[in-house]
């Protein structure tokens, strides 16, 4: 009797133990998959005066991400303050899904990179620390930064983000296709009117060549074109929509005519597809960020890059976007100095020059822009000029993404399928006003 009972108890305990282990194993698998930042946080060693470990998240998953990793490794080896940075990379879309819950649950990285267009919603929810005291850090020279690059990270006169890179949108053109169309391959369109005239000529249906396209998910081209002609989306304090204006009607009608009537390009195409067409030598002109240059060079396309088209040469305008360093609000105060050490390392002449020349981005530090290697680089020197007059649009507007995908994308898609432009602008006007409420 007794032995039987002991046996039963032992079997019961073994079963319970197995069950709990099984559940725990299942749980930790879930945790490992969902919490990228968690592991590195647990490794943070902070023995007094010894190594300071910083966790760092960003979205640089492409070729430029490898240069970034290299620079971080170099910093880890050469810095004299015993700082070690552990970098975690994920696509930007995932980044914006994972960072908010990480901040809310206290598992956020010590610092991160953030796209300028995403900054406002984090600031509005109190998720980021102010970085104004960065200017007091040793060796930092605020005057070296181009004004507009600082504007991108500043909301309500508080600096929430220090620039890591800036980009604007440039006109790339395929010189071989220009020549085949009978146009001078070294003369790109300077104004939007010229672009609208050249695109139908470059287009060649039979060889599957398009002249110009408007992507449906990246609206910087549309916004640039609209603003060049004096139109805009909203008023200065984002309280009212001004999209239904005669300037915008004119611009949208021109684009509609170009794509729908003159068939200069496919009607529905996404940004990455536009890049692919350009890389395949099947697109005459594309307006895109600096990173397109690297792909074109790899694919041996005979291309040129220049300032984005304007309305006229006296009132130049362009859109400035960028990526900046941010510090989540939960980061310990003791780590902020170590973070500033890396931020000032990044924004030094040596690293700034390396990033510009190797990754192909225009410099925003005056000392880097004046460097002879940078000036002599043919692609980068073209990119610099535009930075001087490019401005961020909607920097404090936290609903930018909703505006882009819920209102402007359908408007663009319907416009390129031939719907009435005045009607579309009227609908967009109403939708923007209800978004702003």
């Amino acid at each position: 009797m007794r032995n039987n009972r002991i046996k039963k108890v032992l079997v019961g305990m073994a079963a319970a133990g197995l069950m709990i282990t099984a559940m725990a194993c299942g749980n930790s698998n879930l945790n490992n998959n969902n919490n990228v930042g968690n592991n590195s946080n647990n490794n943070a060693v902070n023995i007094e005066g010894e190594i300071t470990t910083l966790t760092f998240w960003n979205g640089f998953t492409a070729a430029d991400g490898e240069i970034l990793k290299d620079i971080v490794d170099q910093f880890n080896k050469t810095n004299d303050k015993n700082i070690v940075i552990e970098m975690d990379v994920m696509p930007w879309a995932n980044f914006n899904e994972m960072l908010p819950p990480a901040i809310t649950s206290g598992t956020a990285p010590d610092f991160a990179l953030m796209m300028s267009t995403d900054l406002a919603q984090y600031v509005e929810n109190g998720a980021l620390k102010a970085m104004d005291d960065f200017w007091d850090y040793e060796g930092v020279d605020k005057t070296d930064f181009v004004e507009t690059s600082l504007k991108m990270g500043s909301l309500n006169d508080v600096q929430y983000s220090i620039p890591q890179q800036v980009q604007s949108f440039y006109l790339y053109w395929n010189k071989d296709l220009f020549e085949a169309a009978g146009l001078d391959p070294d003369i790109p369109p300077i104004t939007w009117d010229e672009l609208a005239a050249m695109a139908p000529k470059v287009e060649d249906r039979e060889n599957n060549v398009a002249g110009f396209v408007l992507p449906n998910n990246n609206h910087n081209i549309l916004y640039s074109w609209m603003r060049a002609y004096g139109g805009d989306l909203m008023n200065r304090d984002f309280t009212e929509s001004v999209i239904n204006s005669k300037e915008n009607i004119a611009v949208l009608t021109t684009i509609q005519n170009l794509i729908v009537n003159e068939l200069s390009g496919p009607k529905i195409i996404s940004g990455p597809e536009m890049n692919n067409m350009m890389n395949a030598g099947q697109l005459g002109m594309a307006i895109q960020g600096p990173f397109l240059a690297a792909g074109l060079e790899t694919n041996e396309i005979n291309f040129g890059v220049t300032t984005i088209p304007q309305m006229n040469m006296t009132e130049k305008s362009a859109i400035l976007e960028g990526v900046g360093f941010v510090i989540p609000s939960g980061t310990e105060e003791s780590k902020v100095d170590a973070i500033y050490e890396f931020v000032s390392y990044w924004n030094s002449r040596e690293i700034g020059k390396r990033w510009s020349v190797e990754a192909g981005f225009p410099p925003y530090l005056k000392s880097v822009a004046a460097d002879s290697d940078v000036i002599n680089n043919p692609v980068v020197s073209e990119l610099i000029e535009q930075i001087n007059f490019a401005e961020p649009i909607m920097p404090v507007f936290s609903k930018r993404r909703a505006l882009d995908s819920d209102i402007i994308t359908p408007m663009v898609e319907q416009m390129l399928q031939g719907s009435s432009v005045p009607e579309l602008l009227k609908t967009a006007d109403e939708q923007i006003n209800s978004l702003l409420k």
């Binding site: 929810n125 109190g126 597809e273 395949a280 994308t409 898609e413």
Partner: protein, 302 residues
């Protein structure tokens, strides 16, 4: 005291009561990971919460009322039903036909079974990306060959009318291996004497298929239809990767709409939860109908 303990032990030792102890772990896991989040979702639907958990406020039935008037949500539901009606019958049909064709255990058939199952183990996201490059209207290889033949290539994933059918075809290609495998097992369970008797009576292969095979494997067929239906209603991966919901929201499905409300700016988790709760009720109701219909048919056939 020990009398009480003895009484409890005796109670739980009875087979019909001990059974509950055995299924207790499974019930616990299901409750913690399915039932409680489900109830939680329903409750969150009554609040306005964003992903930072700031500005949380009680919203009453406002989210549900907003859902009824939301044309984009209704459009998403319609697209999801359209996708399901395209995909489920075709996939089960293709799975059925293929499983009949390879039901004999020759080496070639065994090879086919393995090969047809390969798309099933591949990630739907990877399949979506590869298909969208192949079918790209400008630089895809399919469009290149069509151009060589002198035909203007359709733009598949970017064409308003063709986008959803293309996604459905791609999903059928990716998943028919599952249906095929399940039905294969069912077909091989049908006793050969039935076929022999039919042969002797002079029935053709087609008649044998419709009057012996299908009724015999009906339970497995019903299972495939039902699980496929439920899975199709929740489609997200492949649509998001290939069309992103476009063009002009013509391929936006309910799960993608929920994702766009809750996990992208402006992160309205309350509204997304309300949509999820209502969608759960809709799928449950439709599945129940389908299940009842299948059971009646099954009863009728046996």
């Amino acid at each position: 005291m020990s009398d009480k303990i003895k009484a409890i032990v005796r109670f739980w030792n009875k087979p019909q009561h001990a059974a509950y102890l055995f299924i207790l772990p499974a019930i616990l896991v299901l409750s913690i990971f399915t039932v409680i989040p489900l109830i939680g979702t329903f409750i969150i639907g009554f609040f306005n919460i964003n992903i930072f958990f700031t500005n949380t406020s009680f919203a009453g039935v406002a989210n549900f009322m907003r859902l009824i008037q939301d044309s984009r949500a209704i459009n998403a539901l319609g697209n999801t039903l359209y996708f399901t009606l395209l995909q489920t019958p075709v996939q089960v049909g293709v799975g059925l036909v293929v499983s009949v064709l390879i039901s004999k255990s020759t080496i070639f058939n065994k090879f086919c079974r393995a090969v047809f199952f390969i798309p099933v183990v591949c990630s739907l996201t990877a399949i979506g990306i590869i298909w969208s490059v192949l079918l790209d209207g400008n630089i895809g290889i399919i469009s290149y060959y069509l151009l060589r033949l002198g035909v203007q290539s359709p733009t598949f994933f970017r064409d308003p009318a063709l986008a959803m059918p293309t996604v459905a075809v791609m999903t059928v290609w990716a998943n028919f291996g599952v249906t095929m495998t399940i039905l294969l097992a069912a077909i091989q369970g049908v006793s050969l004497s039935l076929y022999e008797a039919a042969e002797m009576d002079g029935a053709s292969k087609m008649r044998q298929f419709f009057h012996i095979t299908i009724p015999q494997i009906f339970p497995a067929l019903g299972y495939c239809l039902l699980t496929n239906f439920i899975g199709s209603m929740q489609v997200f991966d492949q649509v998001y990767v290939t069309t992103g919901g476009g063009p002009n929201f013509k391929t936006e499905t309910i799960v993608q709409y929920i994702y766009s409300r809750g996990f992208t700016s402006p992160f309205e988790l309350g509204y997304a939860s309300a949509i999820s709760a209502v969608f759960f009720a809709i799928i449950a109701f439709l599945s129940l109908l389908l299940n009842v219909y299948m059971s009646r048919k099954e009863a009728g056939l046996s």
